[in-house]
Assembly symmetry: C2
Homo-oligomer: 573 residues x 2
Amino acid sequence: MYARIRSLENISRSAPLPSPPIGWTRVHASRVKHPCIGNHPEENDGKGEEVEWRCSFVRPEGVWRIPSHSVLHIPSQSSVLTSHELAITSSYTATQLVEKMQKGELKSVDVVTAFCKRASVAQQLVNCLTEVMFEEAIERAKECDEVVEREGGRGKGLGKLHGLPVSLKDSFNVRGTTTTIGYIDFLSRPPATTDSNLVALLRSEGAIFYCKTNLPQTMMTADTHNNVFGRTLNPLNLGFTAGGSTGGESALIAMGGSIIGLATDIAGSCRIPALCCGLFSFKPSAGRVPFGGGVAPGRLGSPSSIAPVVGPMGRNVRDLELMLSTIITDKTWEFDESVVGVPWRKVEPVTQSLRFGLIRGHPKRPLHPPIARALHSAATRLKEHGHEIVLLDGLIPDLWDIWTLACKFFSLDPKNMPMEILKAAGEPPVPSVEKMSMGDNKWEPTLDALFDMNIAKWKVVKKFHDLIVEHQLDAVLLPGFQATAVPHDQYGEALYTALVNFLNYPSAIIPYLEANKQLDEPFFKSDVAYEPPYNAELFEGMPAHVQVMGKPMQDEELMEILKVVEEILGKNT
Amino acid sequence: MYARIRSLENISRSAPLPSPPIGWTRVHASRVKHPCIGNHPEENDGKGEEVEWRCSFVRPEGVWRIPSHSVLHIPSQSSVLTSHELAITSSYTATQLVEKMQKGELKSVDVVTAFCKRASVAQQLVNCLTEVMFEEAIERAKECDEVVEREGGRGKGLGKLHGLPVSLKDSFNVRGTTTTIGYIDFLSRPPATTDSNLVALLRSEGAIFYCKTNLPQTMMTADTHNNVFGRTLNPLNLGFTAGGSTGGESALIAMGGSIIGLATDIAGSCRIPALCCGLFSFKPSAGRVPFGGGVAPGRLGSPSSIAPVVGPMGRNVRDLELMLSTIITDKTWEFDESVVGVPWRKVEPVTQSLRFGLIRGHPKRPLHPPIARALHSAATRLKEHGHEIVLLDGLIPDLWDIWTLACKFFSLDPKNMPMEILKAAGEPPVPSVEKMSMGDNKWEPTLDALFDMNIAKWKVVKKFHDLIVEHQLDAVLLPGFQATAVPHDQYGEALYTALVNFLNYPSAIIPYLEANKQLDEPFFKSDVAYEPPYNAELFEGMPAHVQVMGKPMQDEELMEILKVVEEILGKNT
């Protein structure tokens, strides 16, 4: 690692990084004492011995790059996991795993070991991890099993997440583990001495932390890429982004290396990776999930009225509910002073017809055919099942204007701290950071402007509110992005996810359908400018999605609605 | 009114107002078409005819002032109210009135008329009203009674507040009624065309609005005094403040002219008037009660993290609960887009021993003996009833520093809009505004400073949180002010109430004991500087109080705790 830092010292911000060698680079970092998780077989001996170095995954960017392809099949074809371990990591929901471990039908040590192994495989293929805590995790799993043994499988074990391995975005602090969030400047920081508030809470419910996952430099792009850990790849197509900012998490879960993970989200960071990798995710209303005690990519104390939130990413709605209902209780506030301490409410399952608003995109970012088809198909199926659809296009405020205003809220810091952090280490911005406007000095935030920004924001919030009340909507269907995952560094604006943060509504991504050249063709429009460019061949097979937005603080009601949508969309027509 | 405006035009800000004449001044204001509510008998004929003028209550400030005294007894001694009307306005709780009206045992028209009459009497004595809507209110009451008649008294009538007269701080909008909030500049504004969101909600639950009440110029002082409506007096002692900013409400309720009213509170505006007039009030967690749709005294869009809230003021805990549980439902968000839409939770009554923190004040604002005695006695009684007291003095952050920081949050607007509004009309500040530091130009707010202010604030919030968690506290007992009500324009800093807004915890004022020279004497300290000065004779008989602070968003739990405190403190030892 130090070698890398030195090599960066004399690089100006505008100069490109020197081409990395093919394969992998061994970087000395004496403070790292973990089982090797490098991608070269000789380091990956699985014995878990402590080593004084780590392998940084580096991917050639030039002509030596291998053709794009999916690596989803590799874990089951590799000999690393036994068939039992493959079953553990792929045949259950998190909810089922917890139940089985509480009853003693599965051992936590087996579950945790299986996910550690699969995470190791994933790391070698898509570079999704930042820190590993495999040994500690397996030790903790043994303690879990002992409790169940003492209870004879008749209790709840250590809590609602008894023995369950949970993966974490790198920005969470886990005591004893470093949190660089991909900033070279943060490499000199000592390991965390305390857990993030949410980590402490989940520990108390029996969750087991075994790895942290990669994220973009500054955490403000949809490309999980930084100068410390390199770039995370999309397991469905290595040439594509896994999304961001929580792209290490989505790549890991898609690879089966985790069953549920925790993301942050201020403009889509929990939902973008999910939609890029064909996963479910839930962005709660702000303040419901403890956010404190982590490491931020920028300056603390922002007076922005768009608050970052934490949400789960996983493989189905029920697991997201397990996670949120575990986190949000009458004890949550005790773990985090900034939480809106309202316990998860028990609401009745949906039995009546629902009314969905439908937003079909903005002219500046027209929906790629696969997404247009998914949204159309979802709305059609919901109607077929007796639910109502109310078209909101033309009624809502301009989404591009909202995005523009949101970006101002994201860059209120007169000191522009993320860029200062890069400068402090002489670290160049990664391409996706270079491309974004955050470093643009033309926008000079002032306190006076912030008053006016808030008023402009309130008007938008009121307009959406009034539409929802007027049309008696239960939820709104909209895209999470205009496309499926896209090639690296092409994601661009996140207007469809940031809208929801701007409004502070809860929303979720439900994976639905896949890009299919033939089926998508009727949704192609020759008179629009797709951004990024649409190429049916390129996107073939990539997962599509719908975003479902609920009403503020009605996270519980949205969860019930999601179950309905999941069931209907999961059924074959 | 216009005469007054003209007379002010040539007055510079620093020049004192010319001495007003004794008694009352008739001021022409052609847009005012209401039954006269002046304090001169010939205008107060009770016939409700429309007149083209209104009487503005003006109180001599010089040697012609009559000696301080209480006017609480006058409504029952005057011949304005019948004995039935006196009973209606003084012998029931709001909860009982609603029940009786729903059953048809009392007619809303009688209840509303009784409160209109008593409010008229109150106005003549303490100048508490700004707008009256007596005729509309009585018409609405008739509709309520017709509904009950149709239901045969077996239904809920028009809602949870069926037929109940509710008074409102002037800053709420009621359609068809002007909202000047005491600014001369706002006199030129047309009447409101829409209701404030909360007003609309309460209307839908059968509440009847019959008057709006006075407030201080800028709404940022504890002296309800402005150049449009003059000064509201404390019914317990006309020489004392009724509190602010919702002092018209407290004076009216104390006079029996309202049974429950609605206040706003960003530093104590709902609680200060209550403690000044011997009433109960409840400041909820921010966002639980609709705030939108009213008229603000300053610039909208503030990025301050101290949010204004709305809370009820009344005569007992049960009525406060009736009001809040009516307002906070699963429909609340539909009335106001900025509400934290969490329905009022049903929590179990307290059956176990509670743990109270105790804050006994700050050295810069030591407690006057009556308040020290009330707090000591309350803590002692709670202990006698099996509850625990944990002394927090010395453990908490410095309250004066918190007050200083809070004031910065209150004055973030670089444009200092309240002062601009005064300038626009050539209106001088009233004495309490002149005395406060808001007009002080030394503090120059910047966006950069706001980041640091937020971090400083978070540290305080975390410290309180950690203390409450560490000591497993259910609530905290503290003063709402260091004194009882004080003579006009002497209130000064509101550090004990603003603390709670700063933390965004819910809190309530419970009136308890009265200043009693003999009993207070042991609590007198000769080595402290009381501010304002303590004079046992002067304060004799004024109501004392305790403030009870709950945990954030646990408004429901606090309400149950208040019932316990109310019962224990209400019992004779």
